[in-house]
Amino acid sequence: MPDTFLDSTELVINMGPQHPSTHGVLRVILKLDGEKVTGTECVIGYLHRGVEKIGENRTYQQFAPYVDRMDYCAAVSNGLGFCLAVEKLLNVEAPPRAQVVRVILTELNRIASHLIWLGTHCLDIGAITPLFYVMREREEILNIYEKYCGARLTTHAFRIGGLEYELYDGFEAEVKAACDFIAPKIDEYEQLLTGNRIWIGRLKGIGVLNAEDCKQYGVTGPMLRAAGVKWDLRKAQPYSGYEQYEFDIPIGENGDTYDRYLVRMEEMRQAIRIVRQAVERIPDGPIMGKVPKVIKPPVGEAYVSIEAPKGELGYFVVSDGTTQPYRVRVRPPSFVNLQSLDKMARGSLVADLVAIIGTIDIVLGEVDR
């Protein structure tokens, strides 16, 4: 029997921009053959705020709060990337105490970001319960941020050259308590989800992206590791003293949605491991490096990339010798990872597309900037 038997016309519909499972204002134009997706096209830019252009009109210190607003689930990582880029331009390094505190806060941020990802991804698939649990655990981390730097989401925790705020009393104890609180909860999520037949049925074999495709699309982060590539910038080109900490890079085998879920769960455990090591070895000393009040880097350019929760987050800063950057270019992980959506979604069902969008872990504030 030919394929065209009982064939219906192809249907082109919009998914989004106002759709609960597109994680923001992503519009996907779907070409459907019945339930089957035969093509997708992403339309982005609904949340475009021109952050890179704003950077050209602000001084280096003034631009730091704006980078928090790109990936607002991982604001601390964004701040770290920008501060490292400007520090490279200035040729200064944060003092050891500041570096250890930076590692603690970014790793806590990685846990918080992955928790949000887990909650929203589960919600897309239809498992509503974990969302409430992850919010409870995330609260512990946000409380630490609130006490340390005075804000919960868009933290502006780091400054160029080190830290603005000294640690508050009981910081170490609270971080340890948060680790002890969160670590068993991750096992609980696994108990809820990992063996669950519906979860496995919805995720296994969906949105497969093998290592070769990942490299072609420039996909980084947990998606690349789930395809079996052991690539983590914290190991490959350590920054902020990551070489001093012991941790493993979790990798998957098949590169499907289920593997990405497992990789991210394991990454949370590894992040807790790093935080536990780091909190034991906070050295005494200054928290701010020798940075002038008015930052005027020499003419030049610097590219620094860090391992943000979603992948490689790069900052390319060009200085023309004035107080304002000549150009700030951001390489956001979710923007690049989103480009693989079409490859993954072709041939799948509409319901699987929701799972695939969820597994990329996009934050539209970062995609559109």
Binding site: Q62, P65, K147, Y148, C149, G150, H156, E164, Y168
Partner: protein, 151 residues
């Protein structure tokens, strides 16, 4: 065989439900009943701005140096000052803070050399009009006065 039995008796689903029912106990409730109980905000919280007065004589601490206005990324602070002919010093006349554009980054309070401008723990900043979000000197010195609800 074991896997088959696990499938038949829905063990994987029951394991998950154990977690769910475990958290049904009232002692695991973690919702704040705002506004009945108000959250404890951290000491360093960056909320509503405030212009501090000297507690001894009630005069403003601000020396109208304009550093906060220069530090602000959104340029939302306008400091008005006039020179006192007797003391040859600048004195603060007006201070406008546009809260509708503020992102509470804390750069202005970092820049203040005399701790006059401070971001406080007040977090209820809603107003009925857009103009209500533009705070003048009086408002900055008094702080917001949110409605206290009695239950």
């Amino acid at each position: 065989m074991r896997k088959f039995l696990r499938t038949i008796f829905l063990i994987d689903l029951i394991e998950g439900l154990l977690v769910t029912f475990h958290y049904q106990r009232p002692k695991y409730m973690c919702t704040d009943q705002y506004p009945q109980e108000r959250p404890k905000v951290a000491e360093r919280y960056r909320g509503a701005p405030r212009l501090n007065n000297n507690p001894d004589n009630g005069e403003t601490l601000c020396i109208a140096c304009n550093l906060c206005a220069l530090a602000c990324p959104e340029k939302l602070i306008v400091v008005g000052s006039e020179r006192n002919e007797k003391t040859r010093r600048k004195e603060l006349t007006t201070f406008t803070y546009d809260l509708s554009r503020c992102m509470f980054c804390g750069l202005c309070e970092d820049a203040c050399p005399v701790d006059a401008l401070e971001l406080t723990q007040d977090f209820e900043l809603a107003s009925y009009t857009r103009e209500g979000a533009i705070w003048d000197r009086q408002m900055l010195e008094d702080g917001p006065k949110p409605t206290k609800y009695e239950f």
